[in-house]
Amino acid sequence: MKALRNFFEKTKPYVQKGAKYHWLHSTHDAFFTLAFVQKDTSKSGTHIHDYIDMKRTMGLVVLSVIPALLMGMYNIGYQHYGALGQLATTGFWSMFLFGLLKVLPVIIVSYVVGLSIEFIFAQFRGHEVNEGFLVTGILIPMVMPINTPLWMVGVATAFSVIFGKEIFGGTGMNIWNPALVARAFLFFAYPAEMSGDSVWISADGVQKMADGFTGATPMAEGVAGHTSINAWHAFVGLIPGSIGETSTLAILIGAAILIITGIGSWRIMLATVLGGSFMGILLNIFAVNPFMAIPFWQQLIIGGFAFGAIFMATDPVSAAQTTKGKWIYGFLIGVLAILIRVLNPAYPEGMMLAILLMNTFAPLIDHYVVQGNIKRRLKRAPQSA
């Protein structure tokens, strides 16, 4: 470790302002701070600072999505061999390996493209590289259908980092969840590659789907009137869908990590689930078609609902920031997601749009909560003037 530290310390003067390799400053700084907690001590204000920092926080979020990612990899293999009709003859590891090899390039593209842009912006702005993209970079692959071409992943990542985040000033200033901006960009720019029944299953070499395999997501099936959902499969994650969104079980493990460590807002998670259940029950009561009649709890385990509620809606920057605001924000996401999903056949998955919409309204919700605080404070101590 000493050698590594010496290397960083020795090269530091060469990347300072005015030195020859100044253009590598943000890169040097990013890797140095990643490898070593720096020796800087408090100059003003409190003398002690908590051990928690942005790297720890974002690192824990990445850790929490890993189960869903691994499960997603397995599911890709499962769907593939399912479509081939070879489920019975293929082992667990073959399926997992198939998925791993499919997903890894997507992750690499996302990180390389996104981090390059981040480093460049940090260099120009004279900031440190923000850790936010460590999370965004893993979330982007997880919300992509497996058949998304790599160049599209790259373009979407670039779009989301530049227009979803950096033009607002970087991590902490963005209005929308950057990972969802990437997804939405593809959804509207390349609709053919982003929806339909053929994008969800990696089916290279599959001539004809085996019996029982349509490749359609449960939502697409639902809109078409086929509502026989295998709830256990949907919960464990053996259904067609985006790479990381299918396994509710794995997502719940992630939720547990986020809640126990206090990194993710349990209020938003709970409020979203409550909102979704509320809307689901409402639709059950007034059901006029088979999709509306799907038991409300099944709506929560299919599609991207769980993934969105746990990992997307809880992004602290784009979510509501006040305690009361979080309840309202989460609840409305749940309501809107199910509403869009069931009643608007043009958009078979409502979660992405619901979260982006509520991201947009989060500052408004907060505004009214803050106004409430101001009024309450005025009442308590009259500002006589």
């Binding site: 928690i52 720890r56 926080t57 101590a381």
Partner: protein, 450 residues
């Protein structure tokens, strides 16, 4: 009507090295000094030159914009130096004691028989006035104002803070005399905030006051928190606050007619060999006290005050004007490989992101390392957990950053000073300099509204 307030929000930082309840005499200091930098916003004007002979209670300097506010010498002796910093800013006015114990004579009288003006005059001329702080803003009280109430916190909940019952248990008469003097300065009440353990202590037995009890973690002992519960500050309200130590000085002044600034301080922190209490004097030089009493195993950081709000001082510097403790912690100026990713069994944290959470009783050695780089506000809902007031700290800080006076006022800048938000700064994931930002906001409020 005594009320009991149970505060849920807040946090006790479990530091190693609390002072043991043992009192020793500190070695007599070679010099003592007053530091104008202990008063935010003060412009000092010297009233003495170097090498002047002075008595205890004679003015060393005064406030340029309120010349009646004097700062007087704690001891008789010679003004040995006026230390200046950048742009000739006065840092310290140093007095070398001559051991003669000569005092300026002030009026010796029972304050309850004196008028408000007489008491005010005596406090101003003796140099005890600067101990009175006003809210809003936490600056020296304006002598021409009559405050709505005077609020006193009778306990300090900050990390490793001294136990006030231990410090002041023998000073009951001086405390009572001081309270009687202060009570004359307001038309309202003198409120004293007690911790639940103090129900039978020296403060609970005082008269001429109204007591309330505050139960909960730090910052329950901060007077700002207590004000927000007892008598919230509105626009154009003024509340005065004063530390019990200063009340004792006032009591002694009226009882003896002399300025007696001897006090007890706690020497605490993980780098102190045997943390305990020492009897010393206001503004004492620290070197003789620290010498041989710290471990000197690592780089040390000496703090006049506590780890949240104190000032970093060199070992030959002086005790701060309001400080009752010296804290010595490791500087922590070293790299740690992948420190952010470690499981963190030994990493005490206000968050739940480290395994240290599993040991809720253990005490920890914490150093002055920043443990991360400064970022924008990312995490929400974090600061609120450490401020038991109906104030939204992040929104207030953002209003300050864009210098929006109206919003600052609406969001509660009158109610908080640095110490109230210090825990937020400690716990902040983004390492934002909360206290610096808040003082900036207070300064622009003073500039805009006077």
């Amino acid at each position: 009507m005594s009320k009991h307030f149970k505060l849920k929000r807040g946090f006790n930082i479990r530091l190693k090295g609390a002072a043991e309840a043992v009192l020793e005499d500190a070695p007599a200091p070679k010099t003592v000094a007053l530091k104008p930098t202990d008063f935010p916003g003060l412009t000092p004007k010297l009233s003495v030159k170097a090498d002047t002979q002075i008595k205890a209670g004679e003015a060393l300097f005064f406030d340029k914009y309120n010349p009646e506010i004097l700062f007087t010498s704690p001891t008789s002796g010679t003004v040995s130096a006026v230390n200046r910093g950048e742009r000739r800013k006065i840092l310290e006015i140093v007095v070398e004691p001559d051991g003669k114990k000569e005092f300026v004579e002030f009026t010796k009288a029972d304050p309850s028989k004196l008028s408000r003006d007489e008491i005010r005059e005596q406090l101003l001329s003796s140099g005890l006035w600067p101990f009175i702080k006003q809210r809003p803003y936490g600056i020296i009280a304006k002598p021409n104002v009559v405050p709505k109430h005077i609020v006193i916190s009778a306990f300090d909940s900050a990390p490793l803070a001294p136990d006030y019952e231990f410090l002041f248990s023998k000073e009951k008469s001086a405390l009572q005399t001081g309270i009687n003097a202060l009570a004359k300065l307001t038309d309202g009440q003198v409120y004293v905030g007690l911790s639940p353990e103090q129900s039978s202590g020296v403060f609970a037995s005082l008269k001429n006051i109204e007591t309330n009890t505050f139960e909960g973690p730090h910052p329950a002992g901060n007077v700002g928190i207590q004000i927000s519960k007892v008598c919230p500050i509105g626009k154009q309200d003024t509340i005065w606050t004063i530390n019990p130590q200063a009340i004792i000085y006032i009591g002694r002044l009226f009882e003896t007619g002399k300025l007696d600034l001897s006090k007890i301080i706690a020497l605490a922190g993980s780098e102190v060999k045997a943390p305990k209490y020492y009897k010393t004097i206001h503004g004492t030089q620290l070197d003789s006290l620290l010498k041989g009493r710290t471990k000197t195993e690592t780089h040390e950081r000496v703090i006049s005050g506590n780890v949240l709000t104190g000032a970093k001082v060199d070992a030959d510097n002086y005790l701060g004007y309001f400080d009752q403790q010296i804290t010595v912690i490791p500087e922590g100026d070293d790299y740690e490989f992948m420190g952010w990713a470690a499981p963190g069994v030994d990493k005490f944290s206000a968050s739940k992101a480290f395994f240290a959470k599993l040991f809720p009783k253990k005490e920890y050695v914490l150093d002055a390392n920043l443990n991360g780089g400064e970022r924008a506000f990312v995490i929400s809902g974090q600061y609120e957990k450490f401020l038991p007031m109906d104030v939204l700290p992040v929104y207030l800080l953002k209003a300050i950053l864009v210098n929006n006076i109206d919003k600052m006022e609406q969001l509660g800048i009158y109610e908080v000073i640095e110490e109230d938000l210090a825990l937020c700064e400690y716990a902040c994931t983004s390492k934002i300099k909360v206290q610096d930002i808040l003082r900036e906001g207070i300064n622009s409020m003073i500039k805009e509204l006077g």
